[in-house]
Amino acid sequence: MLNALLAGVLVSLACGIIGTFIVLRGLAFIGDALAHGVLPGIALALLLGFPGILGATIGALVMIGGISLITRRTRLSSDTAIGLLFVGMLALGVVIVSRSNSFSGDLVRVLFGEILGIAPSALLIQLAATLVILVTVIVCARPFIMLCFSPEQAQVAGFSASLYHNIMLALVALTVITSFQTVGTLLVFGMLLAPAGAGALIARRVQSMMLWAAGFGSLSVYFGLLVSYHFNLAAGASIVLVATLIFFLVFFLRGRPLSTFGSPPKIG
C-alpha cells in the first residue's frame, strides 16, 4: 500500500507538471492519443515476452512520428492525423489482444494499471522519469512559457518553436509510458488533465498551477486508494474518479463565472 501511494504521488508530480502545459497549450487530444496509442506496443511486447515499457516507448514513437509525417506531407490538420492514428493504434492493440486468450487479464492491467501490485523496479523507473520531467521543465521554463503565450513569439525571440514543442511532446510521451504501470494507459490521461484543469481554475501563475495540480493529483491518489481499499473498488479508476471529483469541486467552489474561457472583452 505504501508503494502504491509512493508511485501514485510520483505520477501526480509528473502529471501535474506536464499536464499544466497540456492544458495551457491545448494538447489534450494528442495526450489522449498517446495514452491509447501505446496499447498495441505494450500488447505486442507482452505477447512476445518483452517488458511492456519497451513496447509502450515504440508505440509512442510510432504515434508521434506518424502524426508529424501526415501533417508535414499533407495539408490535413493535426486533429485529423491524431484522430486517425489514435483509432488505428487502438484497433491494432485490440486485434493483437484478441489473438491471444491468455492475457485479457493483462489488457485490464495495461488499461487500468496495477498500482496495488507495483514492483520496486517500476517505482524506480517512475522516480527517474519524474526527475527527468522536473529537470527538463526547469531548464526549458522560458521557452515553454513563451510557447504557451505564442509559438510565433517564441520563435522570433530565438527559441525554436518546433524544437521545444517536440521536447514537450517527448515529456508527455515519457509520462504516459511510465505511468501505464501505475494508473494505466486509459487513466493516466485523466491524471494529466483533471488536476491541471482544476489548477488552471485558481492559479495566478504557471508555477503555482503546477503545484496545485501536483497537490490535487496527490490528494486524488491518497483518497482514491483509501476508497478503493475500504469499498474494494478498482484502485486506478478510483484515483481518477477522485481527481475528476476534485475538478468539479474546485469548479463549483470558485463561485463565479468562468471568465477565463469566455471571449475576450473588446473594450479600451
Binding site: 495551457l24 531548464v139 526549458c140 522560458r142 521557452p143 512559457i145 513563451m146 504557451c148 503565450f149 505564442s150 510565433e152 513569439q153 520563435q155 522570433v156 525571440a157 530565438g158 527559441f159 488552471a200 492559479a203 495566478r204 501563475r205 504557471v206 503555482s208 498551477m209 471568465s259 477565463t260 474561457f261 469566455g262 471571449s263 475576450p264 472583452p265 473588446k266 473594450i267 479600451g268
Partner: protein
C-alpha cells in the same frame, strides 16, 4: 508610384531592405514585387484591408515566413537571424485568456530573448521591466492576472513586453486595434520615443492617422499600391484602390473623411 530613392545602402547592419521581394505562404505569392528601405529611427506603416498581405509581410520580415523570391535583408542578415535585436507583436493573443500569468510575467518575457535559457534576471532587467510598464501606464497592474484585464489593458501589456525587448527593429501587427483614444495617443507618443532612440518600426494598421504619423507608408491590396512618405501617397485614388472606398486624408488636424463609396466592393 514606388519610390526607389529611399532605399538605403545595402548590407548595412542597421536597416531593413526589401528588393523585388515576392511574399506569400507555401510558395503561393500573395504580394509580388515589394520594395522598400528603412533605416535607424524610421517607421513604416503597412495599410490595407484584411487579407491584403500586411501580416504576410510582417511575418516575412521577422523570419516566420520564408521569402518566395527576391531579396530581403534585416539588420544586415537574412530574416530571423537577429532575435536579440528584434521585437514582434503578433495580432492574436487568444491564449492570454486562459494563461495564468500576471502582467509582470508577460512583460518579463520581453527579456527572455537576451537571457536565453539560463541567464539570470538582474537588477537592470527589473528596472527595464518596471520602466516599460510605467511608459504604458500599467505599473499599478503589475500583479494583476492577465485574464482579468480588458482588451485595451492587455494590448498595453503586450506593448510593454515589446518595449522591454529594447529592440533595434520593432514589428507590430495592429497594435492599436483595442485601444481607446487615450491609449491611441499614448501609443503615438511611445512610437516617437522609440524612433528617437534610433529604433526602426514597421506597423500594420487600418488606421490612416497612425500611418500618416510614420515616415513612410505602404498601401497593400495583394499588390503594392503605393509606397513612400505618407503625405505623398495617402491620396484618394490610392486609398480607393486599397480599401475599395474613397477616403480623404485632410491633414493632421482634420484626420480622415469617408467621401464616397465604391460600388460592388465591401
Amino acid at each position: 508610384m514606388q519610390s526607389a530613392s529611399i532605399i538605403p545602402e545595402k548590407n548595412s547592419s542597421s536597416c531593413v531592405i526589401a528588393h523585388n521581394l515576392d511574399i506569400g505562404y507555401q510558395g503561393e505569392v500573395i504580394v509580388p514585387q515589394v520594395n522598400f528601405g528603412l533605416t535607424c529611427g524610421e517607421s513604416l506603416a503597412l495599410v490595407g484591408i484584411n487579407g491584403s498581405g500586411k501580416t504576410t509581410l510582417l511575418k516575412t520580415i521577422v523570419g516566420l515566413l520564408p521569402p518566395i523570391k527576391g531579396e530581403i535583408t534585416v539588420l544586415g542578415n537574412p530574416p530571423g537571424k537577429n532575435p536579440h535585436q528584434l521585437a514582434y507583436l503578433s495580432q492574436f493573443h487568444d491564449s492570454g485568456f486562459i494563461l495564468p500569468l500576471r502582467v509582470k510575467d508577460v512583460v518579463q518575457m520581453g527579456r527572455f530573448s537576451d537571457k536565453g535559457l539560463f541567464g539570470r534576471m538582474t537588477r537592470l532587467d527589473e528596472e527595464i521591466i518596471t520602466a516599460s510598464m510605467q511608459r504604458l501606464g500599467i505599473e499599478d497592474l503589475r500583479d494583476a492576472p492577465l485574464r482579468m484585464l480588458s482588451g485595451g489593458q492587455q494590448q498595453r501589456v503586450y506593448m510593454a513586453q515589446v518595449l522591454a525587448r529594447q529592440a533595434d527593429l520593432i514589428v507590430l501587427d495592429e497594435p492599436t486595434s483595442s485601444l481607446d483614444a487615450s491609449g491611441r495617443k499614448l501609443f503615438s507618443h511611445i512610437m516617437d520615443e522609440e524612433r528617437q532612440r534610433g529604433a526602426m518600426i514597421v506597423v500594420a494598421t487600418h488606421d490612416i492617422q497612425l500611418a500618416a504619423e510614420c515616415n513612410q507608408a505602404m498601401l497593400l491590396a495583394r499588390e503594392v499600391v503605393a509606397v513612400g512618405p505618407g503625405d505623398e501617397i495617402l491620396t484618394p485614388e490610392a486609398l480607393l484602390k486599397t480599401f475599395g472606398i474613397v477616403l480623404l486624408y485632410q491633414g493632421e488636424d482634420k484626420g480622415v473623411g469617408i467621401v464616397e463609396r465604391e460600388h460592388g466592393h465591401n
